[in-house]
């Protein structure tokens, strides 16, 4: 193993997958396909993406009906308007929860997720259990996250099987009429952007 992988020294993961990734990375570097600065840039890129971006989009949509319209019709343009670069996903679609419809996102085939906006998905999102159960028993999965859609609400599961990355626009919690945009954004959790739960209230 070459000695220039400083970022790997602390807390090295020991799984066979981590070992395989390290081997592939070392080969790509040794063969000149990638450079160390490119690897670092890529890590930095992912670390600057976080659910806070999704929360900003949601809070603005709650405050501004025109922005909500843009978010639902052209989510990448909406992201750019808030200074969030939605570069990577080929398509980025935001689906809106309403008093009659609750949306839930999953990728059964792998772990597609709007990384360019929200960063890395949580481990549970990538688990076989979530990926198989979210399509088959979404209501049971949501109950385990602490959320049960009220009586009469349709549940729509979106399986991001191909070139689209999805995010949920949750409903604004009641009693938040006095809150400003930053305060509202703090209510928006990562789980509520995937749809396994609703925002804090």
């Amino acid at each position: 193993m070459s000695g220039h992988h400083q970022h790997e020294e602390a807390g090295r993961a020991t799984s066979p997958y981590a070992a395989r990734i390290r081997a592939i990375e070392a080969l790509l570097l040794d063969k000149g396909v990638l450079t160390e600065p490119e690897v670092q840039d890529s890590i930095t890129y992912m670390e600057t993406r976080s659910p806070a971006n999704g929360a900003k989009l949601v809070a603005r949509a709650w405050m501004d009906e025109g922005f909500e319209g843009l978010l639902l019709s052209d989510a990448k343009a909406a992201a750019l308007q808030l200074g969030i670069d939605p570069e990577h996903p080929a398509e980025f679609i935001v689906v809106k929860n309403t008093p009659g419809v609750h949306n839930l996102i999953v990728c059964t085939l792998c772990s597609c997720y709007p990384r360019a906006i929200l960063g890395r998905p949580p481990d549970w999102y990538k688990s076989f259990e979530y990926r198989s159960r979210a399509v088959r028993e979404p209501r049971a999965v949501m109950r385990e996250f602490g959320f049960e859609p009220p009586e009469g609400v349709e549940v729509i599961v979106h399986d991001s099987t191909a070139d689209v990355r999805y995010m949920v626009l949750p409903m604004r919690p009641p009693g938040t009429g006095d809150m400003g945009e930053d305060e509202l954004a703090h209510l928006v959790t990562r789980d509520s952007l995937v749809g396994v739960n609703v925002p804090r209230s």
Partner: protein
Amino acid sequence: MTFEPGDSVRVLPSEKPGHVRTPGYLKGKAGWIESLIGEFPNPEELAYGHSGLPERPLYKVGFRQADLWDDYEGPAEDYLYADVYEHWLEPGEGESA
């Protein structure tokens, strides 16, 4: 474009191996076209170093959960939407949804 929103469709029960983006649980199932998402290079070709051209239409397809799972727990108004490439769809039978 072969399909319009509202058209009934059925997912082909193909066993094609490789980097297919049609999950097994939808194969052979009946649904309807919600919308055309766009046209994209075919991921089944792209994954193996080919161009993936010509681009293929990708549709958002709707399914009733009760049509997917015999023992589905939940009301008949629960749905599942998945993104399915046109070459995985054939015209369905019966009324449009």
